[in-house]
């Protein structure tokens, strides 16, 4: 049993790091810093997303939080949340690189306030510049195959299509689009980012062959975030194991699983 569980924790590589967990977790919206810390630890995630915001003078804003994150000893993935242009995102990424000491950046350029849909044009522009500046870009994008292709063309090795709108918890809106991206880009690291609401959504994403899942609200806004973190840990591992095992082919009609040869007595009463 232990051996089987361990099979799902085979290492994988992303952004030059070798990791065992395929769950990427956000650090926002938890009931308390202590709860955030417990949830992140329980999730087994080895990548946590963080952000930058205005600092008040002579205050410790950010310090306590950042000290907790540093103490976890896991990889930090800063985001550019709140940016609406390539220029804003590039500046934020440069600032994040200095503060967090990493060249990883979750590139997020919002194009619409209603559904927080990423702006593919500005995302692409920013990605091209940031890659030239030595960043490892994790672009948050829609499930559009052509946008994924363009991002790959400018050098993105990682692409993060949304499952559905940020914070919606609706799961995977367009699985067929996600399958197409996976099939077209077997060499890229693909992470489903945003929209995951339940552990089963994460399992579904992993069963599609995605390399990982990034989520925040689904854990932080659960009634028991720590227990939900454990649920997502199991869900991601289950999905990955399922993918690696090779699922059966669907059939149009029923097919008995119990042998029909030697079926007992009722046939004799026809």
């Amino acid at each position: 049993m232990t051996k089987l569980i361990e099979q799902s924790r085979n290492t994988w590589e992303i952004g030059g790091k070798t990791l065992s967990s395929r769950l990427l977790i956000g650090s926002a919206l938890y009931p308390s810093p202590a709860n955030m810390e417990d949830a992140i630890k329980t999730s087994g995630a080895q990548i946590v997303t963080v952000a930058l915001r205005r600092q008040a003078a002579a205050e410790g804003t950010g310090n306590n939080f950042w000290n907790i994150i540093k103490s976890l000893g896991i990889e930090v993935l800063p985001n550019t949340a709140g940016c609406h242009s390539a220029k804003e995102a590039i500046t934020t990424a440069q600032m994040a690189r200095e503060v967090f000491g990493t060249n990883w950046i979750k590139l997020e350029v919002i194009g619409d306030q209603y559904n927080l849909q990423p702006d593919p044009f500005e995302t692409l522009k920013a990605a091209e510049v940031l890659i030239k500046e030595g960043f490892e870009v994790f672009p948050y994008t829609t499930d559009d195959l052509v946008v994924a292709k363009r991002l790959a063309d400018v050098g993105c090795k990682i692409i993060m299509p949304w499952g559905s709108m940020i914070g919606s918890g609706k799961g995977l809106m367009n699985p067929d689009n996600l399958i197409a991206i996976r099939k077209q880009f077997p060499e890229l690291k693909l992470i489903i980012d945003a929209g995951i609401g339940k552990p089963s959504h994460a399992t579904q994403a992993m069963e599609l062959g995605y390399d990982g899942v990034l989520l925040n609200s689904a854990i932080a806004l659960a009634q028991d975030p720590v227990k939900m973190a454990n649920a997502f840990r199991c869900a991601v591992e289950a999905g990955r194991l399922g993918y690696e095992s090779g699922t059966m082919q669907q059939r149009e009609f029923a097919s008995p699983s119990t042998p029909t040869v030697g079926t007992p007595f009722w046939h004799q009463f026809k």
Binding site: L29, A58, A81, M95, E98
Partner: protein
């Protein structure tokens, strides 16, 4: 005195000065943040050579929770 915008708030500082001096005058922490001037990143290594002038806009950002 000159007027600058710091994190969206109009603020007076004594005169034109470099970034390191502005940080000290406005009583910000000495580390744990990054700074942008008029929308452009200013690297820590250039604080002493980057001059803040009248009507400049400064953003001082620090780590927070993010998704």
């Amino acid at each position: 005195m000159i007027e600058v915008i710091v994190n969206g708030v109009r603020t007076e500082i004594s005169n034109e000065m470099n970034v390191k001096e502005v940080i000290k005058e406005l009583k910000y922490r000495k580390k744990g943040f990054a700074l942008a001037l008029n929308g452009t990143f200013v690297a820590l290594s250039t604080y002493e050579t980057t001059i803040i002038r009248d009507n400049d806009s400064i953003e001082i950002l620090a780590p927070v929770q993010g998704g």
